[in-house]
């Protein structure tokens, strides 16, 4: 592998390893919150870094790296969700797009009971993952990635009104876990 100064060759192993170490938490966090699935998030994160590797000579050291990584992660996750939903409809024909993607039993506990801050945060995280994708994705993009409703609507290919509605419904679903 070539050193950083050789843009024509593959990236240096040490430099790319440091790059992965620096950004892996950020990329994985975006993916796991969008997908609500650890294994799929790890697959997507790996793909993101492989794409970064292909253009590492241009990326390394640039101030736009975090934004580029988040954009690629978001697009890959949205593609993944679209394919998942299409397959689910094809094979099951259940048509319940609002159903939770996986079980989160901790979020089903009685919210009225006294909870310490750590437990409440854990249940909020679980409740966020339990949301259907059309509510979870806008929430993650809005609150974690600081994207505007217009940007989210453009990324998702839906109207701004739908984004606002889904955001509000998602917040309503989370409100019982707010402190």
């Amino acid at each position: 592998m070539a050193a950083r100064g050789d843009p024509s060759g593959p990236p240096g192993a040490a430099a790319f390893d440091a790059f992965v170490r620096e950004y892996q938490d950020m990329v994985y966090a975006v993916a796991v919150r969008l997908l609500a699935n650890e294994a799929e998030a790890e697959d997507v994160a790996q793909t993101v870094f492989l794409r970064a590797y292909e253009r590492f000579a241009d990326l390394d050291g640039q101030a736009t790296v975090p934004g580029w990584l988040k954009t690629v992660t978001t697009h890959l996750c949205l593609n993944h969700l679209e394919r998942y939903r299409a397959r689910w409809r094809f094979f099951s024909e259940m048509g319940d797009a609002d159903a939770p993607a996986f079980d989160a039993p901790s979020a089903a506990a009685d919210p009225g009971q006294a909870l310490d801050a750590a437990t409440r945060r854990a249940r909020l995280e679980a409740a966020l993952r339990e949301l259907p994708p059309h509510q979870r994705v806008p929430l993650v993009l809005f609150h974690f990635e600081q994207q505007s409703c217009d940007e989210i609507a453009r990324v998702l290919g839906v109207s701004v009104g739908k984004v606002k509605t889904d955001l509000h419904r998602g917040r309503l679903a989370l409100r019982r876990w707010l402190s």
Binding site: H143, L174, L178
Partner: protein, 151 residues
Amino acid sequence: MSLDPDDLERRVHRALAELPAIRAPRTLRGRVTAAVSPAVVGHPWFTWSWPVQVAVVLVAAAAVTGVTWGWPMAMALIGGVVPESVQTGAGYVGSAAETSAVLVRLLQLTWMSVVAPIARIVLVLSLLLCAACAMCLAALSRVAPGGASQS
């Protein structure tokens, strides 16, 4: 709790901001490193770059073809040369040459009676199987999560 949308937005934003940072699993870095490693040994064949895949297939096909058609000719050549040299030899050299000639003849007979009849069929079947596997993997890579059709 208030249902005012703006207030709810602020509360949710504050609560989500307080969530602990998510850490990547330890396996992620290893997976990425392995995937970008230039060494192909230890990685599945279908993960290699296509020039390497083609080169390996060609070398393997050439090796199998060479063994299938070249080995009998080599045996015949050796079998014809060794006895003559044995006649001019003396002592243990002569007996060793005789032994090797017998072994060569034995290998030749084994090849002609056991291996040769099925070698060409095995070669053709192997090539067909490789082609079928390559097509299946190409199709799977398009429909699997993270495949080409997703990007």
